[in-house]
């Protein structure tokens, strides 16, 4: 009853005759199930028409505008990401190649430096050896000469020892004995005692 009254009140604004029908046949109407709005067939045509219009329009908007737009947005993004990844891969390969080239050059430079060092060391060693040899031979020559001089001086000195001894003898004799001896006698005495 109370449902029907509500329904009648709702429809009142629409059509006056309908209201009368509803209030008169309220009970019978309710019994039919017509009072339950979702099962009221009189509203079907209107709902179907408006659903067709609105959903049809919605479908067209989705198909022609929204779906292509979102799919192109996603496509562009996917392309962009894969392109960026490719670019990153390419740059990585480049940097790897640069590192490899750097390593190789470093090795080469190290080898070259090693070689240069070795050469310099060898050369310096050879020069030092040569100069040492020279100095040594010079020194040897000087030593030999000095030895020769020493020998000569020694011989000369030994030769003069007799004369000095004779002179000394002569002087001593004359001092002590008061006898003048000749040089020749002194020399003879020295040489005889030295034997």
């Amino acid at each position: 009853m109370f449902v029907t009254k509500a329904w009648a009140a709702e429809t009142a604004s629409g059509e006056a005759p309908a209201e009368a029908t509803h209030s008169e046949t309220g009970v019978a109407h309710g019994a039919e199930g017509g009072s339950f709005p979702p099962f009221d067939p009189t509203s079907f045509a209107s709902q179907l028409l408006w659903l067709a219009l609105t959903f049809g329009l919605f479908f067209l908007l989705m198909r022609n505008i929204v779906v292509p737009r979102i799919s192109s947005i996603l496509e562009v993004r996917r392309d962009r990401i894969s392109r960026d990844l490719d670019e990153a891969q390419r740059l990585k390969e480049e940097s790897d190649a640069a590192i490899a080239a750097y390593e190789q050059e470093l090795t080469e430079a190290r080898n070259a430096a090693h070689k240069i060092g070795q050469e310099a060391r060898d050369k310096a060693k050879a020069e030092a050896d040569a100069s040492r040899h020279e100095v040594e031979s010079e020194l040897n020559a000087k030593i030999a000469e000095s030895e020769k001089q020493v020998a000569a001086i020694k011989a000369k000195a030994l030769g003069e020892v007799d004369t000095i001894a004779a002179d000394t003898v002569q002087a001593i004799v004359s001092e002590i004995l008061g006898v003048n001896t000749t040089k020749a006698d002194a020399a003879k005495a020295v040489s005889s005692s030295a034997k």
Partner: protein
Amino acid sequence: MSNDPIHQFHLNKLIPLEIGGVDISFTNSSLFMVVTVAATAGFLIWATSGRGLIPTRLQSLAEMSYEFVASMLRDGAGSEGMKFFPFVFSLFMFVLVANLFGMFPYFFTVTSHIIVTFALAMLVIGTVVFYGFYKNGLGFLKLFVPDGVPGLLVPLVVLIEVISFLSRPISLSVRLFANMLAGHITLKVFAGFVASLSAMGAIGIGGAILPLAMTVGLTALEFLVAFLQAYVFAVLTCMYLNDALHPSH
């Protein structure tokens, strides 16, 4: 009258129209169909108008709904099913937004009328039947004869398959309609308890706490149902479309 749980499903003629004795008035239901379509399409078009490589929050939401439906359709009907994407996307968004709009107090729930859900279900089944015969010819009838059934059982199985196929539009439409209708009636009944109990004085107000808590819980549940029923509707659409694309199971 305000406590009548059925009242919310009444159609009010906002602009009475009649053609050839058929009532095609612009009702509150029509109004909410228009609002649903305008809001959804407006949002999707506006949110994606920037076409940003890096999406804004709203564009991200539009893209998420797109990808949600796209993955649902691809899982359900394979990559060939993607030609139906605009259709499934429209269905999902329309049903979802219509259900969610129904959650606003004083708003009309478009999907709480069986004729609306039945029309959408018939649209799905019509598409399946039409496209199934268009693509597979009579091979579409293989849908009713599963492979590897012993000869004796074939008539029985075919009978069962035919009945199951014919009941699809009914189950599809009744599921959505009944969920929305029952949910809204339950909400209204419990909310009505709150109002009528609190009119009974101090004890009544104390007692009204229980139905109030129930109403709060049910509101959350109804939001879940609103989303879930749109999802179920779209998933089943994908599965039925899969039958049209690949009838031999």
